[in-house]
Structure formats: structure tokens, C-alpha cells
Subunit: 393 residues, 2 copies
């Protein structure tokens, strides 16, 4: 009987994520949501994609419909390699690139290939839940290290490294949930701390191309190519529904990742891969990306200005130079879960800070997404949030 079936230990105690529940609550057109992590659908390049989808299916159906290589479409991998050279001045051989179903699949493959129960993994605190929950299935021990305005706290990182972690998970550009970015000095120091240890750094970079201010710092891959698992995604700059991302890994690890990917789903949708590739090669791609960055920049500016105006010194907020998220720390020590409940009754939602921590109570924080609301919604939503704040505190 179904009831007497024992689940595997790795999954027996895992519950659906709290954030997933919040997102369900927010799936309601009358609610203004700063809760999600969605790109703004208004900026999807749908006309270009419609035209390109039709072309691909007509001109090269065999490249889309038959079984493909586990590693992914060679032309797409080549394009990614070329972009690393052109945009980031790093040399990433095509053979080291594996196409995945979004970055999310990279977390699962990394866990599967590298983590035994009890292995240690350094994570950012607060950190990105999607990665943490995916790795959690492989039952590691997480070592949270505080993330600050310029990256991980380096003393805490050194201490955590002395516990011999196998992996370090980081989102160095426009981090989720804080919007913080690691500066070059922090990256270089971390790289030198990790170098020659039996430890890999996962550099998760879904937001790097959505920069609207400042200059990019070098990738961890620049400092430490043999110990970096570099993750990229087209979800934020093109469209998440197509589920295409990639990872870069050193050859010995790539060999195992390919075995794991083959066991997991053989390969990623070739239609999705070719559609992404066609758009990347299209003249419309660069203007699209520029338009997207401008739109998010406007929203981020407005959200920041409005928060400063409404909350003044009651709130300390991050100042993202790109990405999709802003992080709030309220001066008062109160539970933002209370604020969430009050706010959702007024018609605005966000994610309270607590779920982003695995080890401590940090109740007075909140993550606000600015990418998928209109300017009007940001204006109205923050006014409602302020009303809720006044009621709660």
C-alpha cells in the first residue's frame, strides 16, 4: 500500500518551500507582488522569438526534433564560449560547457556528483533558497557565512574554510536576496583562500548581464579556473519558461556531470536551445538587453527613492547596481512575518527575511523584487507597505 512505502531518507523530511507558498498567495492579479523572482513579462522578446521559432522548425527540424547530445547543442556552447572571451576576457573551452535546464539543474547535478551525506558546503547568509534546497537533497552540512555589502565576510569565510568544505556557493553579482555584489578585492582574496584546497566554488551568475550601474569585477573563474563551477542562465535575460542555462566545469568533473545529466534527462529541449541561440545571434538581442537593463534600472531607482522617502531611517536598504532584488533591514527589531500578514491584507506582498537564513533568526529583514512590477505598482505597493508597517509597529 502506498501508505507503507518508505520515502528515501534524503527527501522524507523535506517540505514544500515556504516561498513557494507565498508565491501561490501572490498569484492573484489584485495583489501587488514584490515577492517573486520573475523577470518582467512585458519585456519578453516575444515577436522576435515567434519569428525565429518558426524559422528554426522550418529550416532545420532535424536539429530540433531528434535526440541530441547530452552536453547540449555545440553551436550554443560555442556561442557561450565566445561571449566569455569577448565580454569577460576569460578563456572557457567549449568542452567545459554543459547546457542545463536553467541554473536550477546545475545545482542538482553538482549535488549528485559531488556531495555525500555530511559533506560541508559554505553558503551565503542570507542566501538563495533555490540552490540551498536543491543541494539539501544530498544531505550536506551547510556552513553559513555572512554576506556584506562587498561580499562574504572574509574572516568568517576563513574560519568556515578550516572545516574543509567541499563546495562554496556564491552569487557574486547582484546577489539574491540582498542585491549586494562582491568587489574585486573580496573575490581575489577568497580565490587565494580557496586555491589548492580540495574545494570548489560555485559561481552562480544569473544576473550578471543585467547591470545598470558600475563596472563588473572579474569572475572567480578568472582567478581560479580549475576550481570554479561557473553557472549561467538565459532565464533572466531572455525567458525562463524555455529552461536553458549552462555550467562551466573542469574536464574531470565535466565527465561525471555528463553522466549525471544523461541519467537525469538525456539532454535539454533542443527547441529551447536553438531558439535561444537564434535570438542571441539576432540583431535584436543587444537592443533587447539594453532596454531590459534600462527598465529594471528605472524600477530600482524608483523603489529606492520611494523607500527612502517613506521610511527614512526606519529602513536600511541595499543599493543594487543590477539584478532584480533589494534587501531591507528595519531599524526596529520586529518580525517581518507580521508585516507580511498585514501587508498582504492590504494587497501587497514581499518575502520576509527569515527563510533566507538557515541558522539564525533575522526577523527584521525583507526581500523586495523590483523587476516585475510596473512603476505605478511600485509607487502604490510601497505606499501600502508603509501603511502596513505603521499598523504593525
Amino acid at each position: 500500500m502506498e501508505n507503507s512505502i518508505q520515502f528515501a531518507r534524503r527527501i522524507a523530511t523535506i517540505q514544500p518551500s515556504f516561498i513557494r507558498e507565498i508565491l501561490k498567495a501572490a498569484d492573484n492579479d489584485s495583489v501587488i507582488s514584490f515577492a517573486g523572482g520573475l523577470p518582467n513579462a512585458e519585456y519578453f522578446p516575444d515577436q522576435a522569438l515567434a519569428e525565429l521559432a518558426s524559422n528554426i522548425m522550418t529550416e532545420r527540424p532535424q536539429d530540433v526534433l531528434q535526440y541530441g547530445q547530452t552536453e547540449g547543442e555545440i553551436e550554443l556552447r560555442q556561442h557561450i564560449s565566445d561571449q566569455y572571451r569577448l565580454r569577460h576576457q576569460i578563456d572557457v573551452p567549449v568542452e567545459n560547457i554543459l547546457i542545463t535546464n536553467g541554473s536550477q539543474q546545475a545545482f542538482d547535478l553538482i549535488g549528485k556528483v559531488l556531495l555525500d551525506e555530511g559533506d560541508r558546503v559554505i553558503i551565503e547568509s542570507p542566501g538563495y533558497l533555490g540552490a540551498i534546497q536543491s543541494l539539501m537533497i544530498y544531505q550536506p552540512q551547510f556552513l553559513p557565512v555572512a554576506i556584506e555589502q562587498n561580499g562574504l565576510n572574509l574572516d568568517a569565510f576563513e574560519t568556515a574554510l578550516s572545516a574543509n568544505p567541499k563546495l562554496v556557493y556564491s552569487v557574486p553579482n547582484f546577489q539574491n536576496p540582498t542585491g549586494f555584489s562582491y568587489d574585486a578585492e573580496t573575490r581575489e582574496t577568497m580565490a587565494s583562500q580557496i586555491r589548492n584546497r580540495p574545494c570548489l566554488i560555485i559561481e552562480d551568475d544569473p544576473y550578471g548581464d543585467i547591470r545598470f550601474e558600475g563596472q563588473p569585477a572579474p569572475s572567480f573563474y578568472h582567478y581560479l579556473p580549475e576550481q570554479t563551477l561557473l553557472l549561467g542562465s538565459f532565464s533572466k535575460i531572455i525567458a525562463p519558461g524555455l529552461r536553458v542555462g549552462w555550467m562551466v566545469a573542469p574536464p574531470a568533473i565535466m565527465q561525471k556531470l555528463i553522466i549525471a545529466k544523461q541519467a537525469a534527462d538525456l539532454h535539454t529541449s533542443r527547441l529551447s536551445q536553438h531558439l535561444i541561440l537564434a535570438f542571441l545571434r539576432d540583431d535584436r538581442f543587444e537592443p533587447h538587453l539594453q532596454r531590459l537593463c534600462n527598465a529594471y534600472d528605472q524600477r530600482c531607482q524608483l523603489m529606492g527613492d520611494k523607500l527612502d522617502e517613506l521610511f527614512g531611517s526606519d529602513v536600511r536598504r541595499s543599493r543594487p547596481q543590477g539584478g532584480m532584488f533589494m534587501w531591507l533591514e528595519f531599524a526596529k527589531q520586529f518580525d517581518t512575518m507580521e508585516l507580511f500578514r498585514e501587508a498582504s491584507e492590504l494587497g501587497v506582498v514581499f518575502v520576509p527575511g527569515q527563510p533566507f537564513y538557515t541558522d539564525q533568526d533575522s526577523n527584521h529583514c525583507a526581500r523586495l523584487n523590483f523587476s516585475c512590477s510596473s512603476l505605478n505598482q511600485i509607487d502604490q505597493g510601497l505606499a501600502l507597505l508603509h501603511q502596513a508597517y505603521q499598523k504593525t509597529t
Copy 2:
């Protein structure tokens, strides 16, 4: 350093599959390949799909481009549920259907959710390697049970059940590699043997709709809905490159499968899902399926007739009523790996029997795929195979 990184135990000793190596060898236009498991690209409905892809992207870009539900697109799940009722007279609630990246992903999710190291899994012998290799990552103990013309050997199955397996893996229609189908009596007996044990049966049915002879027997789900994990795929009847399959599971298990799927890749490509759905609803789908069945029927017939003519009593072969594979047992006890080497020099390849067994030497067998060659290639390829046979024995 990369070299000192320890891989997880589950993957440390797994090597790339032998069949994958064979398929690479066969990826050469001058070789006639009976080795693959590919559908015939000539019968891909590419024109219909090109037209439908463009329509979908134009008419409902939001349903394709934004993040979607982990469970899959509700309309596709509803369609699958409807088809089970109409075609198979079984009642499969929509909530019990999870869309996966081909059936391959179902194996991985099942392993992840149900298997602890050392758990026992009954498999068919010879059996489908893709499933076995995917489950192997979760380190179960496999209990092979001989598959015969009408399904598993029931005595051996009873004995294997006494070892308390958690899962039984079966391909009851047009099995891979044998082409055998379970008859209704075998299914019913197996269901009664499993009933009320803490054991689930994986009913993997990628080929069921490619029937060109005989009547279908009831699904295991018909006898044992609460203990059946029923797997389906659009790879064989529409196109594998889109990577869309599904699984049916009882609610308590579905809840864990959704958590695992979310951790694995959030959801399957929505473009792939909507394109499949549009074609399933299109007037061109039924004629396409009929045409495909006729084409495979012709090939299967020709392969059988030609084998009988060339090899006579030197070979005993299966008589598939559908699917894509034919199984050969040579009367002489010789190693078909030798035959493979000789044959590939002459320009024809197949898969020797050995890799389909996990526990025994059965060297005198071979799997021949009939779906993806032309009639001419079957004719020529078997003549070459016979030449190689005469040289080898």
C-alpha cells in the same frame, strides 16, 4: 586542486555507458545502424510543428516564456488524463500527473524520492539500460527477473518479491530490448502478487501507442492504481528532441516528486509542452500516428522476414506487435561482441546482448532496432550482418 576533489560515492565508480560508445561509433552516415533507439526522423511531423510553434509564440507568449508550474501545464495534464479515459478506460486524476523531461527524468525523480542505498529493485533481464543506469545512481540492489515472451517469469518474480523490493521496473508493451509484451494474465497475476506489499511497480510505457498488431492488455494501473507509477512519453510518437514525458503517481508520492522536480529544474520547457499539446489537439495528429505505425510495421515485417530467410534456425527472434526493437538469440553459443566487431567493419551495427544483463553472461543475443532505418537499409544491413555472422562463427 581539481584532482583532489572526491566525487560522491554514488557516482565515483560509474563509467560512461557502453551503449553510448556504440552510438557514437554509429554516428556516421556510411554505417547502417540497428543500434540506436531513435524514432525515424523521416516521420517527424515537422511542418505541422513549425506552423504550431509560430502560432503558440504569437498567440500566447506569456504561457511559454514566463516561469511555470512545477507540475507542468495544466492543459497538457488534462489532455493526458482525458486520453487515459478515452483510450485505456482508466481514471487518472489530473493532480496525479507530473510532466517530466522525457521518461528519463521520471527514473531520476523516482530514484531520488524512493531509493536509499541498498534498497531492492526488481528489473527485467534483459532490461532497459537507460532506466537501470539512472536508478543505479541511488545505489539500490538490483534483482533481475527473466523476461519471457508473455512477461516476467512468475515463479522467479515471486521469489524476488520475497526479498522485499521497494520497486519493480517493467516495460510491459514492446519491451526494450526484447520487443516482448506482457499478456493480461501475467499482468493480473503480478498485480495480485504485489498488492498490499510495500512495493510500487514502475510501468514504463513509451511504446504503447506504436502498436501495429494485436490488442492491448490492461495497464498495471488498471489492476493496481495505488501502487503503480505509470510513465509515458511523447518522444516516440512525436519527437524526442522536445523532451516531454509524464508520470502518474499516487498523491502522497506525487507530493514528494514535485519537491524533487522543483529542486531538479523547476519545470519542463513550456515551449516544448505547448507545442506537444497543440499537435495532440490538431487534426493532423491521428493520421500522423497511423502513418508512423504503418511505417514501423513495414520495417518490422521486413526485418523479421529477412532474418528468417538469411539465418533460418540459426537465430530465434522475437515477434514484436509494436515498438521499435527485435531481439535475437543465436542458436550457437558465441559472443555477439565478436559479431559486432566484424559487422561494424562491414558497415552495420547493432547492440550485443550482454549490456542488457546486470547479472549473467548471455553473450549469444543481440538487439536490433527497426524503426530508424529505411526498408533498403534493412535489406542491405541484414545481408551485411549475415556476412559478418558467417565470418565470425
